[in-house]
């Protein structure tokens, strides 16, 4: 019973929107924008995926195509890894354009990523980008406000509110009808997003993640529809409800997210890479220079090795001592570098967490956190990329060092600088370069991403409760 009345009111509201130019224009504009954003972004992502795939393959081929060489030269030749975009980044590119997408992997150093897209954007996209997620999170609420700010208050201003309520329509039926109408309107904006998600779900992303992703956006739109309807009912004049809603929009979608990031920077300053580099170098120096076999740091290593093989001098070892030193030193260096890297990542994560705490103050921040985490375009995934790149680095460097140890004669190695012929002798076969593994980067497992996002789901749920209470209060205070 309650429903049929609500449906009538809902239908009338739609009739009003379609007959007034403003609402119809906004609906149309919003739908076109979302569609356009989706298409443009899909192209970008496709392009990026292909480019990076191509570069990755090229890098691997070049490595393996290197001629016979001294293995340590290959350690310095290094390798590049490129990060391909994740499936859901077509909707939520997240930090993708801000992080570099290429890392140079070489011995003795951990480099940072290079070539962030943002550098090429001439500052045009600092405030907004036309990504579907920005549209949905920041612009769609504005559209919802423009359409729905007067849904109840116009009835009051026209005097029809008294008429409706006196006929036996209950307050809830009225509000529900208005709410349903607005939800349907927001659904129009949501539709392109949902279609894109469906498409992605059939490709390589976990269906559960896609489902939760869509659900979060759907709940977000529901939230806004509820707030707008509640405000419309609460305030007597349309203009007041309009102003209040615009202020709410400005705070929630424009102000608070940015405030969060500024507070995070100031509250948890992180040591920059260069500052960390100094500390790293200090520590590394104490570990000895891996290029210099006679460095006193390797004295014990030498003694242990001589004892193990029961010989008196390094020339008699069955293995290449230089290689052993290189391997040993690289391992210790890697430990130090990783210690600092983890430290840095911890600081960045803490900052991100602080910024995301502002999700308690604005549902936009909460949904954005959920969106980036589920899509695999958040800081966590970038950190994982860094870790996997490092793992690959250590693997191939130590692999090369192993080749250095086992396959290159020590004497030839020590004489390599004497002349060009000597240099040509101190090499190993090019077939050894096949030890390089392929690099395939995938975001974290679906379950990990979901559990990372749990607290932000909680924030969203709390917001739902708050808006429901707000709606209840508005309904109670609805007086003709």
């Amino acid at each position: 019973m309650i429903f049929s009345v609500a449906k009538t009111i809902c239908a009338d509201q739609w009739r009003y929107w379609l007959r007034t130019k403003v609402a119809a224009t906004v609906l149309l504009l919003g739908a076109i924008l979302t569609l356009a954003a989706l298409i443009v972004n899909a192209f970008h992502v496709e392009e990026a995926a292909h480019a990076r795939e191509h570069l990755q393959t090229e890098a691997e081929e070049r490595f393996k195509a290197q001629p016979d060489k001294h293995p340590h030269r290959m350690v310095h030749y290094g390798h590049y890894v490129f990060r391909a975009p994740t499936p859901l980044s077509v909707i939520e590119p997240g930090v993708d354009t801000y992080t570099g997408n290429a890392i140079f992997l070489e011995g003795h150093r951990q480099n940072s990523a290079m070539f962030a897209q943002q550098r090429q954007s001439a500052g045009l996209t600092r405030f907004s980008s036309l990504t579907p997620s920005f549209l949905a999170l920041a612009l769609a609420p504005l559209f919802i406000i423009l359409i729905g700010y007067g849904s109840v208050s116009r009835e009051r201003e026209a005097g029809t509110l008294t008429l409706l309520l006196s006929q036996g329509t209950t307050r809830w039926q009225l509000i529900l009808g208005k709410l349903l109408a607005l939800i349907a309107a927001s659904g129009l904006f949501l539709l392109p997003l949902l279609l894109a998600c469906l498409y992605v779900a059939f490709s390589s992303e976990s269906p559960l993640v896609v489902l939760l992703f869509c659900l979060s956006y759907a709940v977000y739109f529901l939230l806004w529809a509820t707030v707008v309807t509640a405000c419309s009912a609460l305030f007597e004049k349309s203009s007041v409800s309009f102003t209040v809603l615009i202020v709410i929009w400005m705070s929630a979608c424009v102000l608070i997210p940015r405030l969060g990031s500024s507070v995070a920077t100031n509250a948890a300053p992180s040591m920059g890479k260069l500052e960390a580099d100094f500390k790293v170098e200090e520590k590394l120096r104490s570990l000895g220079d891996g290029h210099d076999v006679n460095d006193p740091a390797f004295k014990k290593l030498k003694e242990d090795l001589l004892a193990k093989y029961n010989v008196d001098s390094v020339d008699d070892l069955p293995v290449n001592f230089r290689g052993v030193v290189a391997q040993y030193s690289e391992g210790r260096q890697a430990k130090v570098l990783n210690e600092f890297a983890e430290n840095r990542m911890g600081e960045e994560l803490e900052q991100a967490h602080i910024a995301r705490q502002f999700g308690w103050l604005s549902p936009t921040v909460a949904v954005r956190a959920i969106s980036t985490i589920l899509a695999g375009t958040s800081l966590e995934t970038h950190h994982r990329f860094l870790r996997e790149a490092e793992a690959l680095r250590l693997e191939f460097v130590q692999g090369l060092n192993k080749v250095h140890v086992e396959k290159l004669d020590y004497k030839l190695d020590m004489d390599r600088n004497a002349s060009e012929e000597a240099a040509d002798k101190a090499v190993v076969g090019a077939d050894n370069w096949a030890l390089l593994s392929e690099f395939n980067f995938n975001p974290e497992a679906a379950n990990t991403r979901i559990s990372n996002a749990l607290i932000y789901f909680l924030q969203l749920i709390v917001w739902v409760c708050i808006t429901v209470l707000f709606l209840k209060a508005a309904v109670r205070r609805l007086n003709p």
Binding site: L124, F127, T265
Partner: protein, 436 residues
């Protein structure tokens, strides 16, 4: 002519509304908070630079003390380069959180070092900074819309519009006075904190006034847009909120749609070398040099550095045990091989920025943002300028070491007193660009 009594009366009238006072308070708070966060961050950056400089010097000194020859000295010593924040950088973070503003480099091939990012937390950069430029270019227009959208429409809806026009001795004076009495306090609450912070930070009075002029210009443009829409005959019968929707639409189009569309179009139109290609090319050139005959490297090197043509012979007695000369020569050749792409990359960056400056004529918010980052020296050209500073320094470094590697390999610690020091704006000092 508007009399002072008119202004006084309208001031009393406008400020009688609680809304206005609240709005002005909010804008004031936003201004203060945004300025403070920018200020704190730039203080931090400045302190970092000073700390790093100290450490850098200490590092280098201790590293140099152990070096046996110039070749290894150049290999093991790093030099700090940086772009210090200008006195007004706190007003507009600009590109400083996307482009690097510090690098530690050594004499090896520059193209392999210069593209590293020591950028900030990407998640924070993604959210964007809440700086003064953001408040004045993006938020202030919204406040202007909220304050002025119903200037006349409200009176029309309450049927006071005709009464006011008929009763008034000077109808224009009323509207003008109301606008002035709203906008002047708005400008004051926005700019007063700026002046205070600017003076504390030691910015010149001229630069502070420039920023004030830019903000006032933005307020003027947006007020003109809002008032024009409000006064347009075509919209005369529209309700106040309908008018506000139109104004918000204008804001949306100019602040969001124009920049983003321009970004897509510019990217499609301007040819940009792939960053990945630059580093791959450079690395190939450097690493292939090990396998090629030495003469090939020398040929390529001497072509651009003819002054060292007579010094390429490697003498293990005189020079160090390792042929450092040749090593650095092929590092340079690697850079040279990639220089086309590298120049193209920088040129593309600058070209896109130039086109963006034309696009900004269609978007007051974008224009304000660009003007502010330009005044704060945090725009694209400032950051590219820093990159060129690094290149100039690298050149100076090479000049120093080439002399010692080629001509005077007699190693002495004292010679390092002539080691070039990095100073900001080195690129402008490079008159000796011809010399290598």
């Amino acid at each position: 002519m508007m009399r002072f009594t008119d202004l006084k009366r309208e001031a009393g009238f406008v400020f009688g509304h609680r809304q206005i006072k609240l709005t002005l308070l909010v804008v004031f708070l936003l201004s203060v908070v945004s300025l403070w966060t920018g200020f704190a961050e730039m203080q931090e950056q400045q302190a970092t630079v000073e700390q790093l400089l100290e450490k850098d010097q200490a590092e280098r000194d201790s590293a140099l003390a152990h070096q046996p020859n110039y070749g290894s000295a150049a290999y093991y010593t790093f030099h700090l380069t940086y772009s210090p924040p200008s006195p007004l950088a706190f007003t507009a973070v600009g590109e400083r959180d996307v482009f690097p503003w510090k690098h530690r480099i050594r004499m090896l091939a520059l193209e392999g070092q210069i593209y590293e990012t020591d950028a900030d937390n990407p998640e924070l950069a993604f959210l964007g900074r809440f700086d003064f430029a953001f408040v004045t270019s993006v938020l202030l227009p919204l406040f202007i819309i909220l304050l002025l959208y119903d200037l006349k429409a409200k009176e029309r809806e309450a049927r006071r519009f005709d009464l006011l026009n008929v009763t008034a001795r000077n109808a224009h004076a009323i509207w003008t006075a109301r606008v002035i009495v709203t906008l002047v306090p708005l400008a004051l609450v926005t700019l007063a904190p700026l002046v205070v912070f600017g003076l504390i930070n030691g910015a010149s009075l001229l630069s502070i006034l420039t920023v004030c002029a830019i903000v006032i210009g933005n307020i003027a443009i947006w007020s003109a847009i809002v008032l024009a829409i409000g006064a347009a005959k075509r919209f005369a019968s529209f309700s106040a909120t309908h008018l506000a929707s139109i104004m918000l639409g204008a804001w949306l189009v100019t602040t969001v749609i124009v920049p983003v569309t321009a970004h897509t179009v510019i990217n499609a139109v301007v040819e940009t070398p792939e960053g990945g290609d630059i580093v791959l090319t450079q690395r190939e050139a450097v690493n292939s040099a090990w396998d090629k005959p030495v003469e090939d490297t020398w040929r390529a090197f001497i072509a651009t550095h003819p002054q060292w043509a007579d010094y390429t012979i490697f003498d293990p007695e005189r020079d160090s045990s390792f042929n450092w000369k040749w090593y650095y020569a092929f590092q340079q050749v690697g850079d040279q091989t990639a220089s086309e792409l590298s120049k193209g990359y920088q040129a593309a960056t600058l070209q896109k920025d130039t086109i963006a400056s034309y696009v900004a004529l269609l978007s007051p918010s974008l224009l304000t943002q660009r003007l502010l980052s330009s005044a704060a020296d945090t725009n694209v050209s400032a950051m590219v300028g820093y990159e060129n500073d690094v290149r100039a320094f690298h050149k100076a470094l090479r000049k120093f070491y080439y002399y010692h590697l080629f001509k005077d390999p007699e190693f002495s610690q004292e010679s390092f007193e002539a080691l070039p020091q990095f100073t900001p704006n080195m690129r402008t000092l490079g008159e000796s660009n011809k010399e290598n």
